[in-house]
Amino acid sequence: MERILKILEDNARLPLEDIAAMADKTPQEVAAAIDEYAKAGVIKGYKTLIDWDKTDETRVRAIIELKVSPKKDRGFDEIASTIALFPEVDSVMLMSGGYDLGLIMTGASFQEIALFVALRLSPLDDVLSTATHFVLRTYKRDGVMYADESKDERGYNFL
């Protein structure tokens, strides 16, 4: 069954019939499995990878390091859940190493992100410090090359 997940992870737009052929299942079995995965929360949704730099729309991404004070009973979960509620925040992750929470967020401008950090994140009681790193260029994201798209350089040796 995990083969279905692998196929979907690479290309969520493949028709059920193709997924079924590749996974040695019937289309009905694949549909049922996908439903099950969705119900169980294994499949979280389907998105499209877009290189916004190639469009007219300006989008700025930033990686934000947060140091926070954990709560006695709930550790980092409480503050992480609070931050995750902000729609501006794409990802919230508990990290090992020099800081506690790693955030990824998207905004319309550097200023918008900077203001969000200054006015919304920093004032939270449990946030001790923040460090904002703006993404200047994306080379690869979620396994897909964004810059230097790989060309098929194989020789035309058809044999």
Partner: protein, 391 residues
């Protein structure tokens, strides 16, 4: 200067590929989607590349011994025993070559006298016949049949054997058909050849790309066959190492001595950097092979399912990374089909006839491409078939 007087007759007699021009055109065509390439789209596993880089950093840039690095041959012997139950002495029965291609050439040159016959089951990889002709041998094509799943049968083999037969080529898993000879099929062939002085040249470059629950079996592992078999394998397909040009050949010692002699004078040794990389591939590469095979297997099913749905029927290829669908229902010859498809939809596939006359009515489609690439190409092929049916 009259070059026609200078060039060797045997070399001139080799037919140039009739479709080379056609594929040169495809290579320059803007927006052309190729399904023609016969090499993996994966990159060589990182640890293998790294081993090559490290060998360069450490200045290991000299020749190796003619037979290849001793460690390389030892690892190849371990690998063959582990994966295919083949047992060769790395000191006396193995030679590291410049890809499987050199091994084919060496075996033919070591054995053939002018007029000796080589039975070549077709459709197959294109090198066997020209290399046979270059040493004055006679290439005897043996047309394989679609109804047999393009496998060689004992009866077909018996019918082609003459007193001049010296070698039978076994090109399985097969490029271009994807056919595989399972143990029972090989047993029948072994039965025909035992008690003869006919040598088997088994080209098992696609051995690791065999799909389904049953593993690849080599004819050299069958009782009584090792002594009459030249076993050829390499790194190009299993480890995605085409550009490294690395292979090896295993054979009984008397044959190996002669092949090593020719190799010594013609080549000196296989590339040293590649050999250091190859050692790591053989020792630690099993997991990488599995990953690539799993991906190929999904693509194989994706392609066969879609081609059959479109009416280009193809039997299930059990090996290599090609499917070989029939295009007979279109009423076109293989070459016509490929040319029209290229011109109309900018999709390049290879006519079955490029691999022997018995490939007529078929085309070879490679799945050494991403599913997205295959999907785009299949869409264009489907459009082409619809337009063809309205003509």
């Amino acid at each position: 200067m009259d070059y026609s007087k200078i060039l060797a007759g045997k070399a001139k007699q080799i037919k140039p590929s009739g479709i080379r021009k056609f594929f040169d055109l495809a290579g320059t065509m803007e927006g052309c989607i190729s399904l023609g390439v016969g090499e993996p789209d994966f990159k060589t596993p990182w640890m293998v590349r790294d081993a090559g880089i490290k060998s360069l950093e450490r200045g290991k840039t000299w020749y190796t011994s003619n037979a290849g690095l001793a460690e390389m041959r030892r690892e190849a012997a371990n690998y063959l025993a582990r994966r295919f139950d083949l047992h060769y002495d790395p000191e006396t029965e193995m030679l590291v070559t410049v890809g499987g291609s050199e091994a084919i050439d060496l075996a033919l040159r070591a054995v053939l006298e002018p007029g000796d016959e080589v039975i070549i089951p077709e459709p197959c990889y294109v090198s066997y016949a020209p290399l046979t002709q270059l040493v004055g041998g006679v290439a005897v094509p043996l047309p394989l049949k679609a109804e047999n799943g393009f496998r060689l049968t004992a009866q077909e083999l018996r019918e082609k054997i003459t007193p001049r037969t010296k070698i039978v080529v076994l090109p399985f898993p097969c490029n271009p058909t994807g056919a595989v000879m399972r143990e029972r099929h090989l047993a029948e062939i072994a039965n025909v050849l035992q008690d003869t002085d006919i040598l088997v040249m088994t080209d098992e470059i696609y051995a690791e790309l065999t799909y389904g629950p049953r593993r690849h079996v080599s004819i050299a592992s069958m009782p009584g066959m090792k002594e009459r078999t030249v076993y050829i394998n390499g790194f190009s397909k299993a480890y995605a190492m085409t550009g490294w040009r690395l292979g090896y050949v295993c054979a009984p010692q008397p044959l190996m001595q002669v092949m090593t002699k020719i190799h010594q004078y013609a080549i000196m040794c296989a590339p040293t950097t590649s050999q250091y990389a190859g050692i790591v591939a053989l020792r630690d590469g099993d997991e990488a092979i599995e990953g690539m095979r799993d991906e190929y297997d999904m693509r194989r099913k994706f392609l066969t399912s879609n081609l059959n749905r479109m009416g280009l029927t193809c039997f299930e290829p059990e090996g290599a990374f090609y499917v070989f669908p029939s295009i007979q229902k279109t009423g076109l010859s293989s070459e016509e089909f490929c040319e029209k498809l290229l011109m109309a939809k900018k999709v390049a596939v290879v006519p079955g006839t490029a691999f022997g006359a018995s490939g007529e009515g078929f085309v070879r489609i490679s799945y050494s491409y991403s599913v997205a690439h295959l999907s785009e190409a299949l869409g264009r092929i489907e459009e082409f078939l619809k337009e063809l049916s309205h003509e």
